[in-house]
């Protein structure tokens, strides 16, 4: 077990989150079970007031969760100095069996929390608050995932062993690795790159014709295809090394922290792309973000080609 100041800070914040989330869970259960919009008795007015409290708590958790996710990535990177063999966050995540699940769950939870906020806003923007029961039922489900994330995070940090040799990202993200991630190396690069640009073309098409369902679905596939394309293709141009595929190293200072911008654009663009199903006005925001992401990663390839006259 390692107890660095960063891990300690994450533990304390998780404890606070859990305390607040439990209050929100208790209120959500009460509202879900008892709320009746046609009733005007004391309980209903109390529940309405409590719904504001629960919503505020959930918004607070989300507001801290987003920067905390970046802090979590930063902590992983920092821990790579402590764990033997690890060169970046990838090796740290692979140090325990929970790491990959944890980061996947963290990303999923951010999407779900953000979706809850959209639902909440929609609810409050309508006079008869039509989603009040749905949004609190959704939070009850979300709490389970949130609790799982906190427990996984605890186990991940708890199971770190300083004297145990872990794999570096060069080993983990290579065709010879036996990890789950290495399966993607069976796919040809040209297929991945073609899929990436075809998917973005579909997003552009759906944006131009304002086809919200096509747009949302193409954003969903774009998350997966983009991450695979980053590992398989674009990352190598950021590193200017054909054999280096790590999706974490470009979060480091050696690459001017460009990874944070890349992931922020991807997640922001695709999240807004998913919620256009509810709100048309997110089309533009999502498309601009996705476009900037595509331009940014493509520029690395172009610059490399212009500098060296060849592709990797």
């Amino acid at each position: 077990m390692i107890l660095s100041p960063e891990i300690l800070a994450i533990y304390i914040l998780n404890f606070m989150f859990l305390a607040f989330a439990l209050i929100a869970l208790y209120l959500s259960l009460k509202i879900y079970i008892n709320y009746d919009k046609n009733s005007s008795d004391t309980i209903q007015y109390t529940l309405e007031r409590q719904s504001y409290l629960a919503s505020t708590i959930i918004k607070f958790i989300f507001a801290i969760k987003v920067p905390l996710f970046l802090f979590f990535i930063f902590t992983l990177d920092k821990l790579s100095n402590v764990l033997s063999g690890a060169m970046c966050g990838a090796g740290v995540l692979d140090a325990t069996e929970y790491g990959t699940i944890l980061i996947s769950l963290k990303i999923l939870n951010i999407y779900l929390f953000a979706f809850w906020l959209v639902l909440n806003k929609e609810d409050l923007n309508q006079e008869d608050k039509p989603y009040i029961k749905i949004k609190f039922a959704f939070f009850i489900g979300l709490f389970v995932l949130f609790l799982a994330e906190i427990l996984l995070e605890y186990y991940t940090f708890y199971n770190f062993e300083v004297d145990k040799l872990v794999s570096c990202c060069g080993t983990l993200y290579s065709a010879s690795s036996t990890s789950f991630v290495s399966n993607i190396f069976a796919i040809d690069n040209s297929i991945i790159v073609s899929l990436f640009y075809i998917n973005f073309s579909l997003i552009t098409f759906a944006y131009v014709f304002k086809s919200k369902y096509v747009y949302a679905i193409s954003n969903l596939t774009f998350i997966v295809i983009s991450i695979v394309a980053l590992i398989m293709f674009f990352g190598t141009y950021i590193y200017e090394l054909p054999s280096h595929h790590c999706p974490f190293c470009y979060l480091q200072s050696d690459y001017y922290y460009i990874g944070y911008l890349i992931y922020a654009l991807l997640f922001f663009g695709t999240f807004n792309g998913l919620i256009v199903v509810f709100k048309d006005r997110f089309f533009k925001l999502s498309f601009i973000s996705n476009l900037l992401f595509v331009v940014l990663v493509s520029i690395y390839v172009l610059v490399y080609y212009l500098k060296n006259g060849v592709f990797l």
Partner: protein, 222 residues
């Protein structure tokens, strides 16, 4: 039409002490009528006004204005309802003393984002109507009590609300100015406004244009 159906309002004071400001109130106020709420301090007059203006919510029961249950509106819709339907004249006027009469009167128009010439027209017309045009550019703090009240009425009126609420409007005025206020109310009645006045000033208790007197005692309609 304003309707109260079995409305209760309880305030908590400390952990166990509660004050029942309104108890099982049922009442209805017709559109375009002038209603005076009578009663001693603490009888529940102001609580009724704050429920009609959606500033507060009941503990139980329904407050319905024009077939809409306003007691169930969220903060956003309560504000919209208040902006579009209610004009309030407060006992202490609640004016911003350091800015001019015009700037005070304009305040309720700000959220509406109207064109500047529309705002200008409205302000000119309202200041003229309430006889305070000459003070347009004067800071409110330089005006007398009666003049300040006219500014407060002009501010309540400028959004052309359907309902005008006045809470102890003459508490700080002498008899002459109070009679002036009563005359203004009488003139407003001619415009089919619903006017609800909470007062214990005897000057209001025998007015021919008042449609209904509702007397309150200890949170109940007497």
């Amino acid at each position: 039409m304003i309707k109260f159906k079995n409305v209760n309002k309880t305030f908590k004071s400390g952990r166990s002490h509660t004050v029942d400001a309104l108890k099982d109130i049922d009442l209805s106020i017709k559109e375009g009528s002038v209603v005076v709420l009578k009663g001693a301090s603490g009888s529940g007059k102001s609580s009724i006004l704050s429920l009609i203006s959606a500033i507060s919510k009941p503990t139980s029961g329904e407050v319905i204005v024009d077939d809409k249950q306003i007691s169930k509106l969220s903060d956003k819709f309560s504000s919209e309802y208040r902006l579009n339907n209610i004009g309030i004249v407060f006992q202490k006027y609640n004016l911003v003393e350091d800015i001019t009469v015009e700037q005070n009167v304009i305040l309720p128009l700000i959220p509406k984002n109207l064109d500047s010439h529309v705002v200008e027209e409205k302000v000119e017309s309202v200041l003229d109507m309430f006889g305070i045009k000459e003070y347009k550019n004067s800071p409110v703090k330089n005006l007398s009590g009666g003049e300040q009240q006219r500014v407060a009425i002009a501010r309540a009126y400028i959004n052309t609300p359907k309902i005008i609420i006045a809470d102890e409007p003459t508490a700080n005025l002498d008899e002459k100015l109070s009679l002036d206020f009563i005359k203004i109310i009488k003139d407003l009645k001619g415009e089919n406004k619903t006017i609800i006045i909470a007062t214990h000033d005897p000057l209001f208790f025998d007015l021919d244009f008042v449609d209904e007197y509702i007397e309150l005692k200890d949170g109940c309609v007497v």
